[in-house]
Amino acid sequence: MTDGFDTLLPAASLLGHRVDVLFLFVSILTGCVALAIAILLVVFTIRYRHGSKADRSNPPVRIRWLEVTWITVPLAIFLGIFGWSSLVFSQFHRPPRGAMQVHVLAKQWMWKIQHQNGRREIDELHIPLGRPVELIMTSQDVIHSFFVPEFRAKQDVLPGRYMSLWFTATRPGRFRLFCAEYCGTRHSGMHGQVIVMRPTEFAAWLAAGPARDELAARGFEIYRRMGCSGCHEPTSTVHAPDLIGLFGRTVHLADGTMVTADETYIRDSILLPRKQVVVGFDPVMPSFQGQLDEDDLTALIAYIKSRASPP
């Protein structure tokens, strides 16, 4: 019944292997502790059963060294697991530079994937082996969660903001993709697969897609059609923030705070322009809520990202 799918257990991503080492360690440790307590319970119950001849003289009221031990040793072990786990966890939040970015749009009940060159797929994600892949994900409706068990990777996908998840596949094959956050009637039907291909095969697959504009190019087209360029082009007479080199920069806001111009910031600036006004500018930009769908936003953001550094 496992047609085409690899067996579930072995990890298939770089971080997945690191997670598994920790998992194994914690499993052995907790297994030993559980076993030790079970043995103590059983041995004491049998040895000190009512009527047995076991020695009951001088029952201890307080054994200080034992108490100190059973507090400090677990504490030290816990802190050890905590430190180890936090190190691995922080790597989940640090996508490597130059990761291949793929856009994911979750909706009840499907995964819509869009590659940088415009190739799209539904409920399938093709990625190359050995290259870091960063997913830029958002949801069109409720909260979903992108979960690939063999990558040991999971990230909730929220509406209204962009979540990031990265992994580097270490094994070619097909891996199950699940929605892990309950999202309504067909939640359990919101699954798909991640197909890891050798880099050359992947390049061929990517190029063979139906001809469609590159994401950033489509973004530029929307940028002009919706009139963004009227204010935001450097040549414009309207006093509006320059978008060249914006992405990834620190932006100073009118309320004195600072934000990093990431995907969610750009999205909010388009849909909720008054939420974060850049210092020195009047809040004159109209909201584009209802005029742009999630795909348009993805394209626009891709366009702005493509102009991250001045040419």
């Binding site: 799918f5 920790l22 319970l41 009527g51 966890f89 409720v142 979960f147 068990p149």
Partner: protein
């Protein structure tokens, strides 16, 4: 078991006349009673009803999950089943189970009081509970709700077209019953302790329920506010949680878990209290490290308020927040570990007998330990990324709440059944049920740890075929578990009507509740008891020394 029964020589007739059960036989005498013991029985009947209602939802789910395809019920019904199961079991069974039944019955008896501080309020709590229950029953009759017991937004506010408002109203209402019970217990413990009963002579059952009451009073209002905000957003479409309206869905999760994580301790602390009464009694040893046990209860209650973010490691909360919550989650495990070690140490050099209450309680210690240790996996951020929202989490919290709390509740029911109804339960049936439940429980839930580790997400109506074998194990276990839970229902009721009469102190226990007849008279004690020593002066080779 009746080695110390000789101290009870009163004729049955006298017992009968004094008993709180004989104070009136009309429906009115029950429904308008202010006797904490009768209110405890009202609660017992209600929570038992909801336990079996919630249990039948689970049974249907396990039936559905026998095969990977959805064949018994459709997806929407399945979603409504797990929602009903969660809502009913959490708010209408687990939270009131030990405090509102055993706590209500025993706290005044254990502290030598005639009543709780506010008897009318106590009755009102039960009516409020019943009203909340009616809302939930109405929700089920109207067609159910499909949000999951967690009511995650924006699904619950703008996407679900089931009866969210009705269900939320039920939970909102029942929360007030929790708050009032908690308030009542706090004042009772502060004001009504009998002379000589200092704080550090209180039985640990009272400590545990006292700490639980504090959590109930502090945390439950946050749940009420959160549910109100859901209803508000659903009705007015003003954005609080839905980003499409300018709201923040993570805000909901923070508010919800700020209540619902402490709620886990509301469910498990009273169970720890029960275990701390039963183990010393049947080991004939004072509980090891009494003060440490009391401090541990408070440590858990306090730190339990600071770990809610461990439900949100992949939710999109900041990684730094996740790491801080992870650290606090490891720290909250320390007092729980201390308690397990202390229970184990209490057995050392004891004189141990194994009647049904002790079997249930040893089962509790074992299953709670497994539940607690697997909690370490989930406290570890990097492991939680993989395990959260899978069956691993389902197995973990069922080990704590069912393996832990339900086992302890049943242990407590057997232990105090002679006191409550004045008759003994059939010992062999009690032991058979305890063993059946232990086996059925492990067969049901241990495979779910493996399913989760292998990546099966929770709340799945259909699942990938490779998960079937373990699901079949789990469903078979559920069948055994069902049988195990039905047994006490029958023999405990039989014992109430036909069991042999119980002496005042069948177990030779030390607590004040055993110094008065079984069942106790309406006013609990004929003379106000004067406490002269701590709660667990047991000796392996001699009679125990009662507190008064």
């Amino acid at each position: 078991m009746s080695a110390t029964a000789a101290d009870e020589v009163r004729p049955d007739k006298v017992l009968h006349e004094e008993s709180y059960l004989r104070e009136g036989f009309t429906l009115r005498s029950w429904l308008l009673t202010r006797d904490h013991k009768r209110i405890a029985l009202l609660y017992m009947i209600s929570v038992t009803g909801f336990f079996f209602l919630g249990g039948s939802a689970a049974a249907l789910m396990r039936l559905e999950l026998l095969t990977p395809q959805g064949d018994v019920v459709d997806a929407e019904t399945y979603n409504k089943l797990f929602t009903a199961h969660g809502v009913i079991m959490v708010w209408f069974f687990l939270i009131p189970s030990i405090p509102a039944t055993l706590g209500n019955f025993l706290i005044p008896l254990m502290i030598g009081a005639r009543e709780v501080a506010f008897p009318r309020l106590n009755l009102a709590s039960w009516y409020i509970y019943t009203l909340g229950g009616l809302f939930v029953v109405a929700t089920l009759i109207a067609g159910g709700v499909d949000t999951g017991w967690t009511f995650y937004t924006p699904f619950s506010t703008l996407f679900s077209n089931t009866h969210v408002i009705l269900a939320a109203a039920g939970v909102f209402v029942v929360g007030f019953s929790s708050i009032l019970t908690g308030l009542n217990f706090i004042v009772t413990v502060h004001r009504l302790r009998t002379p000589g009963l200092t704080w550090f002579r209180l039985p640990l059952f009272v400590w545990a329920n006292y700490a639980t009451s504090i959590i109930l009073v502090l945390a439950t209002p946050v749940l009420a506010m959160t549910l109100s905000l859901i209803v508000f957003e659903r009705i007015t479409h003003i954005g609080i949680f839905d980003p499409a309206l300018g709201g923040d869905p993570l805000l909901f999760q923070h508010l919800f878990w700020f209540y619902s994580h402490p709620a886990v301790y509301i469910m498990v602390l009273p169970a720890m209290g029960v275990a701390s009464e039963i183990i010393p009694c049947f080991a004939r040893r004072p509980v090891y490290g009494y003060r440490m046990m009391a401090y541990a209860i408070f440590g858990i209650a306090l730190i339990g308020f600071l770990v809610w973010g461990h439900h949100m490691f992949v939710s999109g909360q900041s990684a730094y927040a996740s790491i801080a919550f992870s650290l606090l989650s490891f720290i909250v495990a320390i007092p729980s570990a201390i308690k397990v070690f202390n229970w184990t140490a209490t057995l050392y050099k004891g004189s141990i007998t194994l009647p049904a209450p002790m079997l249930y309680t040893l089962g509790f210690v074992g299953l709670f330990t497994v539940g607690g240790l697997t909690g370490l996996f989930l406290a570890a951020t990097a492991l939680d990324v993989h395990l959260t929202d899978t069956y691993f989490v389902v197995a973990h919290f069922h080990y704590i709440m069912v393996g832990g709390t339900v086992m302890a509740y049943l242990g407590g029911l057997h232990f105090w059944w002679p006191k409550i109804v004045g008759r003994m339960y059939p010992e062999n049936w009690g032991r058979i049920a305890a063993v059946t439940i232990f086996i059925g429980f492990n067969l049901t839930f241990f495979p779910q740890y493996l399913l989760g580790a292998w990546g099966m997400p929770r709340r799945y109506h259909e699942y990938a075929p490779e998960y079937q074998l373990l699901n079949v194990f789990s469903s078979c276990g559920a069948a055994i578990l069902t049988l195990g839970y039905l047994l006490p229902l029958f023999y405990l009721v039989w014992a109430m009507l036909r069991g042999p009469r119980a002496p005042a102190n069948p177990w030779g226990a030390t607590g004040l509740e055993w110094q008065t007849p079984s069942p106790p008279p309406k006013e609990n004690f004929s003379h106000t008891p004067r406490v002269v020593r701590g709660p667990y002066v047991y000796h392996p080779n001699g009679p125990a020394e009662p507190q008064a």
